[in-house]
């Protein structure tokens, strides 16, 4: 019998393994479908990782290697080239690989750390023909940075999140011409540093409040048309601009990869579209935990590692504890809060992570339980793209009403 079985060997899976091993789990297994550990980090060759967790600036592969070094101090079972195809409420894990075929093992607890997947053309309804040369940004990143294939020579990018911006710079440095980046929203979701160092440095125009309205070509993409959108995100006729390109990169969002759990009818969080978890990262299925990008999309791998370490720790300590559980609900100007529920079982601290719904220059975060105000805190320059955190002791929550998070806008 395995104590903790972890599905996915990215930053989340490796950190969860550390959390489990350092907190009493004896037999830990990681199941990873790729041929090495590291997950998405292996293709994120840029720097900007690790400032919080390792207190030094690292590249993605550098961060992954540091986690692997830590794991080398322990005895654990790492199954590479192995796909997990099913997990069950009684904590069976079904996996397949070339050596062992189809296997079923039993674990005392399971941690889902399967990361996220990219939204594709069909999830955002780009009209036009089916053409080669329309690719998600993360896939293009993997081809370029790991396999050495440049995806195209004349590129347009839809979506100004950090992945799109970083790819704009990478492709420019590798000799491709990036003709522009279009963003549906009136502001960019990328870090300011990336706007400067990935777009302005390379004279790449950013078209805010624009989207792709047509793609043309013959087999391969030849032309992209963008147009400005109104407040309802509808294209405004007469504002079209045409670009002759061979590639359209899509950087239009990430979706948690949670099929293994939705197959088991796990409860979902309507705000993140991810899994609903307690503050211990336990899902609605007892003994099954979730963390990392599989739980909600993170901007910083450092937070993935911190959170996943905790998930691993709780998975190791898993027991059928019946303390009261209260809901955590986002209210005015708050898009979502994680965790969605808190188990009021002790005096430990809990770190809440939340995002606002729109840019707010000046406001007050108000946390209540029922009608009782638990905490008020002034906030400046809040952005939807930047995750905020606040850590509270569980002892401040004294009854079983819902906890609410809102941001009041101050003049």
């Amino acid at each position: 019998m395995i104590d903790v079985c972890i599905i996915g060997g990215g930053a989340a899976g490796m950190s969860a393994a550390l959390g489990a091993l350092e907190n009493g789990a004896q037999k830990v297994m990681i199941i990873e479908k790729d041929k090495e550990l590291g997950g998405i980090l292996n293709q994120c060759i840029h720097n900007g990782f690790g400032m919080h967790y390792f207190k030094e600036e690292l590249t993605g592969p550098g961060f992954a290697e540091k986690l692997q070094e830590k794991l080398k101090n322990y005895d654990l079972d790492i199954k590479l080239d192995t796909m997990c195809v099913k997990i069950t409420p009684d904590k069976e894990v079904h996996y397949i690989n070339g050596n062992e075929g189809y296997q079923v093992i039993k674990a005392k607890s399971i941690v889902l750390a399967t990361g996220c997947r990219e939204r594709t053309r069909y999830q955002i309804d780009i009209p036009g023909k089916r053409l080669a040369g329309i690719v998600t940004a993360g896939l293009a990143q993997r081809y370029l940075n790991m396999d050495g294939y440049l995806i195209g020579k004349k590129v347009f990018i839809l979506g100004s999140g950090d992945i799109g911006l970083i790819m704009a710079r990478r492709l420019s440095l590798e000799g491709a011409e990036v003709l522009g980046v279009a963003e549906l929203m009136p502001y960019s979701n990328g870090l300011k540093r990336n706007i400067v160092q990935c777009l302005i440095d390379f004279n790449i125009p950013l078209y805010l409040s624009h989207t792709v309205v047509d793609v043309k070509g013959n087999g391969r993409l030849e032309q992209v048309t963008i147009a400005q959108v109104d407040e309802k995100f509808q294209p405004i006729p007469g504002t079209e601009k045409v670009f002759d390109v061979d590639t359209l990169l899509l950087s239009v969002g990430l979706i948690p990869e949670i099929k293994l759990l939705t197959d088991q009818k796990v409860q979902l969080n309507p705000y993140t579209k991810g899994i609903k978890v307690l503050d211990t990262f336990e899902t609605s299925i007892p003994g099954i935990f979730a963390c990392g990008n599989a739980l909600h999309v993170h901007d910083l791998v450092d937070y993935v590692s911190l959170e996943s370490y905790d998930a691993g720790k709780h998975a190791a300590k898993y027991s059928n504890d019946n303390s009261p559980v209260v809901e955590v609900v986002p209210k005015n100007n708050v898009r979502y809060v994680v965790p969605n529920q808190v188990k009021l079982n002790n005096d430990e601290e809990v770190m809440f992570k939340y995002r606002v719904t729109k840019p707010i220059d000046k406001g007050t975060l108000v946390i209540k339980q029922g009608d009782k105000v638990i905490k008020e805190m002034k906030k400046f320059f809040l952005l939807p793209s930047e995750m905020e955190t606040i850590t509270l002791s569980k002892s401040v929550f004294t009854d079983t009403d819902n906890i609410t998070f809102e941001v009041r806008i101050d003049e």
Partner: protein, 121 residues
Amino acid sequence: MNRLDTICTICPRGCRLTVTKENDQYNVQGNFCKRGVDYGIKEITRPVRKLTSTVKIKGAMYSRLPVYTDNELPKEMLFDVMKALENVEVNAPVKAGDVIVANVLNTNVNIISSRTMNNIE
């Protein structure tokens, strides 16, 4: 350069800056605080950047080895350094932190391996 439109990256406020040069005097506009002035002047006079890229590797699990600069390069040299890396080819095994190119183009900056890659042949 006599004019630069950019964004201050010192704090999340992200002021839009216009830096202009007149009679050897730099003038920064759009900054909310004083730190934006120093940032703007540095960006127009001697901007520097870190660079990450890949080089060819033989005998490893993948055909590219990710690398980074151990210090900042003058911004205008980014493409020259990319060109210099084009013909670099290493053989596995390589360790994280290995110097792949020392003192690239006499900049006093080294090109360092981001990760370990074992020989799989």
